[in-house]
Symmetry: C2
Subunit: 626 residues, 2 copies
């Protein structure tokens, strides 16, 4: 019995196994904040062929049921089956990504030439029990043994000392000391535990995205990913993008609300992962957090207010390794929580993690790393130098500020083709059915197709005479992508929308060009382009080039990396050496504040065309237009 | 208008001033946990001559009112007045003590040849405000300025970082950094504040006694004691002595109860001191705690369980300088709380503080330091060496285990004289009136008088024929000190009582002798005897020698030191150098566990006589008996 995916992957099914588990066994993780109980309604899959025994439809609408959508955790295939996984159900780990599968992560880690060597270490200690002749205090006894092992001047926190005496006696003086090297060179004791015969040690890698929170539960001894959890970042209820969240954080109690939201998101996942694998919170020795600078600040309860105001100053970029209790995580309160270092207000730990995951800092070839979202963060460099900048693209690719814009969820138009003769668009909708709006990848497709077919000119203006689908709307001219006669709601792209999208792509392109100019290089120097982020995975490279959003270069130079933030967090969790590399990347990266560069404004103005004022930068597109 | 004390001190009164305030102005502090509001009923004084306008009698009994007792905080003298301050109303700062008055403490501090130099320091910093060209993070900006001032590698806690950004901006980048050198050599940032024009800095010295808690509020800039507060240690509700408290601590929730009790005692005092002097908790930069090892453990919420069980191991003797928030003190949560280091389970920070306060560690003459309470802690040595031990004396001098025993409070017989011919005792009672029991100093007086007059023999056995006051009681023979015909309650000392007291004095004497033998010295080598502790102040030296409790040496060699625990805490608060001296004392002191010394048992057996089996050790007493 086989489970076949529309992406051509085949998974052998076990008897009476739900689809969710079968996928997970193969390293394909669906979003499921309830942990597979059928209550969150997030693990939707579409049955293309074959049938399932459905335990429960949960929150699915009648319409979804009619479209053969089921909850993967509630559907047991009744034979060979072919399914499609909608984008919104998948964790931000795509098909085409370089580090696709979590089961490959251990190999990927080893490809750095490092061993599994978490910064958090354990040491077995057999202390001589105290006697009347050897009656030094417990702490002195511990220090004496550590001195004998060459670990001098260890630092002991209050939390450590307050439970030490009992543990020593319960353990009959044979203990395991968990410790770490602090942000200075001194060691810090983390906690003491009786010598553990089951020899289990776990760690968490956490990616705090503005939109999604992803958690990897890893075995610290083997590097293996035991399980994954993810959910939307509940901070969304206070605003979609980083800027509105910062504004909310500066309002009374806002920071607490935002912090509580994301921490409880993480804890909900962690609690369910622990329950599922019978892991105690005290067995989680360490956590590594990766997020943009604002997310990192909010996670730690630090006011991000000044990140938003010129001159854009974060409280800190290098976070000391504070403890689980301080972070309010439901792990051992003594466990260290490492934050991947940030570079500047708009280049955060997620980008440092991304560069680490791309290995561009290790190679001599010059590469470009980009993470496209509300902000387009870019980094250029190699093993000798690294430059970075953030381009404020606005939230249009996430659906905001676009009349019919929406996120890449059910009902979003995700790709568009336009017939060059009839100008009739053919669309594909996430989860199928009637479209409810258009998401980022759909916008890129639509505009590049409209440009290629001559429906818009180089400035993005609609050419009215071409088709009746171009009409006068509330905001001026608009193109009707889809007419919904039943609901009287048409899906359109207006000239204002197109202008917004062009501004966004121009900002990204101008940022890349400015960085290149700053280091005296031309586009040709770039040998690899690493595209990170969930959105990035679904971009059609060719169409993004036509739009003038990406550099016009051979498609094979582009590498989709998926969620590099979580990959980097995992690498920092599992290897002290790679953590040091992340620190090096952060200090090596020269941050360019684009807004103060006159050349950036010039580049930006030149890029406000399709694909660009200077067509010589887009030879392929020039060719297509001919 | 004058206020005259029975101890011959004279204080000039201000118009309409209550006695409590007049005394305080002169550095005489009464116990008053309510801070002078008339509600706690503790600041009792007796008017011997003159009259007062009494605002309220508060909790005073009819009997007390008839004895001319008033509450000092509620009584305004109407002219010249002569008062007596009962012992229990005074804070443990006696008349005869070497470091008598808090107003002399600054001079005493300076007599060490050190300046006022608290370990907690402040530094003025004018940071350049960030600009778009100088846009490093707040923490990097702060570190850069510190580097320029030579303060490299400072450590920043979460609490510091979490409030830093706002403070920097409120203060317009001109700030005061409060910092300290950690227990390693690295500096630690404590907190940041806007530059303070009123230039106020305060600190707390706290003595956590098993019975009493005393707090000094000090000006950190001048060393001046601004005010004092004290109260009974509410842990008493869980047991009178250290051992019963340890037992309670090991019961469920017991440790929390004990910790809460003492911390809220301290906080009640601190809150009232702050309110009285209009001081904010954030202005208190530091606190220093001194207490025995068990009190220090409980204060920090550390289980003292193993202190009680052989081989008597504390969790730690050197306490890291944890913060006010961790200590749960109502001061700035970032402020460091220093704990005077302990030596062993039964020689605590109070003894280290006492040795520091005695200066014996600085002089070449060999001195003996003793703190007499439930445990008699002793230290012998000079500027080259120090030995220490604890003698388990039992709680008899604090009234426990003695049929009519009581603490030194109202109604206790505090001194006794016995007519050598009639054997009639004349007694003096604290606060006057009918006696309700006998306290430690009364016991010493009574037994030495009984011995001198032949009412008891060398073994402490009552000689029945001598007087009708010796009679057969429930526990065997007893001596009637006072017959209360009205209440049918006689105050007696039984043979069992006398045995207990002899055992206690023998333990102390044997401890001293064992320590001397251990270092190969004889009694003559001791040039000074420093007696610390509240009880110590009221001992009649001559009578204690007759009892065989103190070494038979000229009275002028004995120095009453009062509460040296709080004095030492104050010295450590005001001077980094003296704090280091305290650390040196603690590491220099060789602790002797008396219970394992065979010679201690021999000494103890020999001391179970009055004054001693070996009369040659007590030439003065031998003379008296002749």
């Amino acid at each position: 019995m086989e489970l076949r995916l529309t992406s051509d992957e085949v998974i052998t099914l076990k008897e009476k196994e739900v689809i969710y588990s079968a996928l997970k066994r193969s390293g394909i993780y669906l979003t499921a904040s309830c942990g597979g109980k059928g209550t969150c309604g997030k693990c939707k899959v579409k049955i293309i062929k074959g049938s399932c025994n459905v335990i429960s439809y949960g929150k699915l609408t009648q319409k979804e049921r009619e479209s053969n959508i089921v909850l993967a955790c509630q559907a047991i295939p009744e034979g060979d089956i072919l399914i499609e996984i909608p984008k919104e159900s998948r964790l931000a780990i795509g098909d085409k990504i370089a580090i696709a599968r979590t089961k490959d992560l251990v190999h990927y880690l080893k490809s750095y030439g490092v061993d599994i060597n978490p910064a958090v270490k354990r040491l077995y200690l057999e202390l001589p029990p105290p006697t009347i002749d050897d009656n030094i205090s417990d702490l002195e006894r511990l220090k004496r043994s550590l001195n004998e092992k060459g670990l001098k001047d260890m630092r002991f926190s209050y939390g450590f000392v307050s439970t030490m005496a009992d543990t020593l006696r319960i353990a009959n003086w044979n203990v395991e000391l968990t410790y770490i090297r602090g942000d200075d060179t001194r060691y810090e004791a983390i906690f003491l535990s009786p010598i553990d015969t089951c020899n289990r040690r776990f760690g968490l890698a956490v990616d705090i995205g503005t939109t999604t929170v992803v958690v990897y539960l890893a075995n610290l001894l083997t590097g293996e990913i035991i399980d994954i959890g993810s959910t939307y970042n509940s901070q969304m209820r206070y605003g979609d993008d980083v800027i509105t969240r910062i504004v909310h954080a500066t309002e009374s109690n806002g920071l607490d609300e935002l912090r509580d939201a994301v921490v409880s998101d993480i804890n909900t996942i962690v609690d369910s992962l622990m329950a599922r694998h019978s892991i105690q919170s005290c067995e989680i020795d360490a956590a590594t957090i990766s997020g943009n600078t604002t997310m990192s600040h909010i996670f730690w309860g630090l006011n991000p207010g000044s990140i938003r105001e010129e001159p854009y100053i974060p409280t800190l970029n290098r976070f000391p390794e504070w403890r689980g209790g301080t972070a309010r995580l439901s792990i051992n309160p003594q466990s260290p929580v490492y934050t991947v270092p940030c570079v500047a207000s708009y280049v955060g730990g997620d980008i440092v993690a991304g560069v680490l995951a791309s290995k561009m800092h290790r190679n001599s070839e010059i590469a470009l790393f980009m993470d496209i979202g509300t902000n387009g963060e870019i980094a250029i460099g190699n093993n000798e130098w690294l430059m970075t900048a953030a381009c404020s693209m606005g939230p249009c690719f996430e659906g905001s500020g676009i009349r019919c814009g929406m996120r890449a969820t059910s009902g979003a138009i995700e790709s568009v083709k336009i017939d060059p003769h009839t100008y009739e668009p053919s669309i594909s909708v996430i989860s199928g059915g009637h479209p409810m709006g258009i998401c980022g990848s759909g916008m890129i497709d639509a505009i590049s197709e409209m440009f290629l077919t001559g429906l818009i000119d180089q400035k993005g203006k609609l050419v009215k005479a071409k088709t009746e689908r171009i009409r006068e709307g509330e905001d001026g001219l608009e193109f009707v992508l889809y007419s919904d006669l039943t609901h009287h709601k048409d899906i359109v792209l207006t000239e204002v929308d197109i202008e917004n999208i062009i501004r966004a792509k121009a900002a990204l392109y101008a940022g890349i060009k400015t960085l290149l100019t700053e280091v005296g290089l031309t586009t040709d120097a770039i040998e690899k382009v690493y595209i990170a982020g969930g959105f990035g995975n679904y971009i059609n490279i060719k169409k993004a080039i036509i739009l003038g959003m990406l550099l016009d270069m051979p498609e094979e130079r582009f590498v989709f990396m998926g969620n590099t933030s979580i990959t980097g967090a995992y690498l920092c969790l599992m290897s002290e050496e790679l953590r040091r590399e992340a620190e090096d990347i952060a200090s090596k990266m020269t941050y360019i504040e684009l807004s103060v560069y006159r050349s950036f404004m010039d580049e930006y103005m030149s890029a406000l065309f399709l694909p660009h004022t200077d067509m010589s930068q887009f030879p392929t597109v020039t060719g297509m237009l001919k």
